[in-house]
C-alpha cells in the first residue's frame, strides 16, 4: 500500500487495464521517431547544461557543466607537497579503483606474474559493479552470434562507438562469462546447464545472463574474494589525487591521499590503470542517481590533467527507470530486468505509451515526454513519474516469479510498504552511466604512454548510448584486457627513476591564460551531502 491514498486510487486504474495491457504488443518506434524524440526530450540535447572546455586536450569540446568545473578545477596538491624521491609504494602495475574493472585487471596482472596493487578511496567492491542488477550480455546461444551482438551494440550506441572496441567487447564476451563461472560466479541456469537469458532494451536476441537481480553483486564479491585469495595488496580508503609522470612524460605512479588522515603518499609504478568508474554523484542537470557514493568522475580529472583525451564526455545515460517514489529510495535503480520479464510502462490513465524495451536513451526520453509535453505523469511530492506495472510479471509468468527473479526489487520496495507483486511502482529517469570517458585503444592504453583505462571511466566502447548488460561485460572484458596489457608493458619497462609532477603547474598556467581557473578542489573524491547549517 502507498502511504498516499491518491496513489492507491491511481494504481487501481492500472490494475483494471492490466489484462488488456498484458496482451498488447506495442509497436516499436521508427528510426526517425526516435531521433525526433531524443532531440526534443533527452537531457544530452539540452545545450544550456553544457560548458565548452577552454583548456586541455579537449579544448573546444562541450562537457556537462559540473564536469567542466572539475576538469578545470584546482589540484588538491602542489608538486612541493610530496617527496617523489622516496616512494611509499613500489609496484609494477598500479590500479586505481577497486570495482569490477580494477579487480579484474588486478587478477590478470597477477596471473601474468607481475606485481599489482589496488588503491581505492573507499573499499574494494564499493563500486557501480556491485549495484548492477540486471545482467551481463554474451552471445553464446545457438541463435545468436558475436556479429549480431555487434550490430545491437553498435546500433544502440548510434553508430558512434569505436568499431575495434565493440569487436573486442562482443568476441570476448563468452570467454568473460566462462572466466567468471570458473571463478565460481553463479549464473541462472536451467537444470541441464543452459543459461537462462532474457532480452534487454535494444537487444535482438535473448542474451542477458543474470544471477537473480544481484548479478553485479555476485560478480563483484567473487572478484573481491579472488583478489584477497591471491594476496594482491589493496590499499583502501586511499584516493589517487594526481598521476605522476616520468621525465619523458610517461605515467609512472600516483600521489595518494589517505581519506581519513589526509596523509599524502607516493606510489611508483611501471604502468598505471585508471579504473575509477563513473560520475553519477555529480548529479548532472539536477538528476538523482543510481550510482554508488564514490562516482565522482575522479579518473577523468586524473587522466585529463596529464594529457589523456576524452571521448563522448558529453553523453550520459539516464536510466529510464529510477525510483520515482518513495523518497528514501528516490533515484535508486529499478533494474531493466523488470521490463525484460514483462512489466510495461503505463501513464496516469493506465495506458501503455511505448514498447518497454526500446534502448535506454529512447525510453528515458519517452518517459520525460509523457511527464512533460503530454502531461500524463503521476504527480508526487518528488515530482512526476510514470507507472511500471510490476504485477504484470506474475500475471504473465505466474506467482513466485518476482521473488525468484528479482528479489532485490521486492525487498527494496517492501521496506516501504509497497508490494511490487500487487502494486505497480513509480519510476522516472535517473543518472546512471557515463557513456564516454578517457579515450582508449584496443589494448586499453590512453594517449599517455604507460597509462591505461578500463571500465566506466573509459570511452568509445558504447558510442553515445550503452545497452543494458554491456557494462558488466565491459568491466570484465576490458578490465581483464587492461590487466594483461599493462602487465605485458610493465615487463619491458624499467622502474622509472625520475618522477615529476610538473604537469600540475603546466596545466595551471594553461587554465590561467584561458582565464578559467576556479577554486573547486578536484578530483572531487566524495560528494558533499552533509547539510550546511
Amino acid at each position: 500500500m502507498y502511504k498516499i491514498d491518491k496513489l492507491n486510487e491511481l494504481a487501481k486504474v492500472v490494475a483494471e487495464k492490466r489484462a488488456a495491457n498484458a496482451d498488447l504488443e506495442p509497436t516499436r518506434m521508427t528510426a526517425e521517431e526516435k531521433d525526433a524524440l531524443l532531440a526534443e526530450f533527452h537531457p544530452d540535447y539540452k545545450d544550456g547544461e553544457f560548458t565548452v572546455l577552454s583548456a586541455g586536450v579537449n579544448k573546444g569540446d562541450k562537457v556537462p557543466t559540473q564536469l567542466a568545473e572539475l576538469l578545470q578545477g584546482s589540484s588538491r596538491i602542489s608538486a612541493s607537497d610530496v617527496d617523489l624521491s622516496a616512494p611509499d609504494f613500489d609496484t609494477d602495475v598500479l590500479i586505481i579503483g577497486g570495482g569490477g574493472a580494477g579487480a579484474s585487471a588486478a587478477i590478470e596482472a597477477d596471473e601474468a606474474g607481475v606485481k599489482a596493487m589496488i588503491v581505492t578511496k573507499l573499499r574494494i567492491g564499493d563500486a557501480n559493479t556491485m549495484m548492477a542488477e540486471g545482467g551481463i550480455q554474451a552471445a553464446d546461444k545457438p541463435n545468436d552470434s558475436p556479429a549480431i551482438h555487434f550490430i545491437d551494440a553498435f546500433g544502440g550506441g548510434h553508430f558512434a562507438a569505436k568499431p575495434e572496441l565493440v569487436n573486442k567487447l562482443v568476441t570476448k564476451a563468452p570467454e568473460a562469462i566462462q572466466w567468471l563461472n570458473k571463478l565460481g560466479v553463479e549464473f541462472d541456469k536451467e537444470e541441464d546447464g543452459t543459461m537462462v537469458t532474457t532480452h534487454g532494451g535494444g537487444t535482438s536476441r535473448k542474451r542477458m545472463h543474470a544471477a537473480k537481480d544481484y548479478s553485479g553483486a555476485e560478480i563483484m564479491r567473487t572478484l573481491r574474494d579472488e583478489v584477497i585469495n591471491r594476496g594482491i595488496p589493496v590499499i583502501d580508503f586511499t584516493a589517487a589525487v594526481e598521476i605522476i609522470l616520468d621525465e619523458n612524460g610517461k605515467a609512472a605512479g600516483a600521489v595518494l591521499m589517505n581519506m581519513e588522515t589526509k596523509e599524502l603518499l607516493v606510489a611508483r609504478a611501471k604502468t598505471v590503470i585508471i579504473a575509477t568508474g563513473g560520475a553519477g554523484r555529480l548529479h548532472y542537470q539536477g538528476f538523482p542517481t543510481s550510482n554508488h557514493y564514490g562516482a565522482t568522475a575522479d579518473g577523468l580529472v586524473l587522466g585529463y590533467r596529464v594529457g589523456a583525451s576524452l571521448l563522448y564526455a558529453d553523453t550520459l545515460q539516464y536510466h529510464p527507470t529510477g525510483t520515482g517514489y518513495p523518497e528514501q529510495i528516490f533515484g535508486a535503480l529499478v533494474t531493466e530486468k523488470v521490463r525484460s520479464l514483462g512489466a510495461k510502462l503505463v501513464n496516469i490513465n493506465g495506458d501503455v505509451f511505448m514498447h518497454p524495451l526500446e534502448t535506454r536513451d529512447v525510453t528515458a526520453a519517452s518517459i520525460i515526454r509523457e511527464c512533460t509535453a503530454r502531461d500524463k505523469g503521476i504527480e508526487t511530492n518528488l515530482g512526476k513519474a510514470v507507472w511500471l506495472d510490476t504485477p504484470m510479471i506474475e500475471y504473465k509468468h505466474g506467482e513466485g516469479t518476482i521473488e525468484k527473479r528479482i528479489p532485490a526489487m521486492l525487498r527494496m520496495f517492501g521496506k516501504y510498504g509497497i508490494d511490487i507483486r500487487k502494486e505497480p511502482i513509480l519510476v522516472y529517469p535517473t543518472l546512471h552511466y557515463q557513456n564516454g570517458g578517457l579515450n582508449i585503444n584496443v589494448d586499453c592504453s590512453t594517449d599517455v604512454e604507460n597509462l591505461y583505462a578500463a571500465g566506466e571511466v573509459a570511452g568509445g566502447i558504447h558510442g553515445r548510448n550503452r545497452l543494458m548488460g554491456n557494462s558488466l561485460l565491459d568491466v570484465i572484458v576490458f578490465g581483464r584486457n587492461a590487466g594483461m596489457c599493462a602487465a605485458e608493458k610493465a615487463k619491458g619497462v624499467n622502474t622509472p627513476d625520475k618522477l615529476t609532477l610538473n604537469h600540475i603547474e603546466k596545466f595551471n598556467t594553461e587554465l590561467e591564460s584561458a582565464g578559467v581557473k576556479n577554486e573547486t578542489a578536484s578530483p572531487m573524491l566524495l560528494p558533499h551531502y552533509a547539510r550546511k547549517k
Binding site: G125, F154, G155, L183, D192, K212, D225, N229, H292, R411
Partner: protein
Amino acid sequence: MENMLNIYLFGKKYQVPSGLTIMTAMEYAGYELVRGCGCRNGFCGACATIYRIKGESQLHGCLACQTEIEEGMYVATLPFFPLEKRVYEINEIKPDMQVMMQLYPEIYSCIGCNACTKACTQELNVMQYIAYAQRGEYEKCAEESFDCVMCGVCSSRCPAGISHPQVAMLARRLNGKYIAPECEHLADRVNEINEGIYDEKMAELMSKAVDSVQELKDMYNHRDIEK
C-alpha cells in the same frame, strides 16, 4: 512544519525530519561520511548499523541506507567488522565436507542461538545456511545465503565467532564452479570464437562501420528481433 524526530547518533541527540533513512539523517545532522557509506542502495553492506529503540530491549541490525528512522532510535554504525576470511586456491579445492572443516572449523561450534538470523540486515536465515555448510550442502547454502551483502552484523552477534558471510562466500563459489551444471553452449561458443569462425564476419562488420555506416544502419533497423 516538518515532523521532526529525536534520534541518537552514537548517543548524541539530534532532531531530524521524519522520512529520512539513517544514512540521510546522519547527513542532515552534519556528518560528511567517509566510512559506512558505499552503494547507498542496499547492495554493498558498507553501512552496517545496529540500533535500539529507547526503552526497548531488542537490538536490531540494519543497513543505514535502507532503514527509515524512528523516534527514539539509538544508532551505532558498524563501518568495519573484523570478519575472518581464509584464503584458498579455488582451482585446488573440492566441494566436499573437508574444505569447510579445514577453512572454517568454527562453524561446528555453533550453539544454535539463532542470534545471527535475528540480526541479519537482509532477513536471511543465517543459522540455516550455516547448518547447510556444516553438512557440506553447498548448493543449499548458496541459495539460502544468496542475498547476503556481507555487512557482518550476524558475525558481530555470534558467540561462536563464526564469520558467516565468508562461509557463505566459499559455498557460493564452490557451487558456482563445481556443483551447478556446466553450460555446454557457452563452451561451444568460446571454442568457435577461438577457432576463428567469426573472424571474417567481424572484420567485415568493422570495415562497414568505417566505410559504409549506412549499410550497417539498414541492417540495424531491419534486424529481426527474437520474440
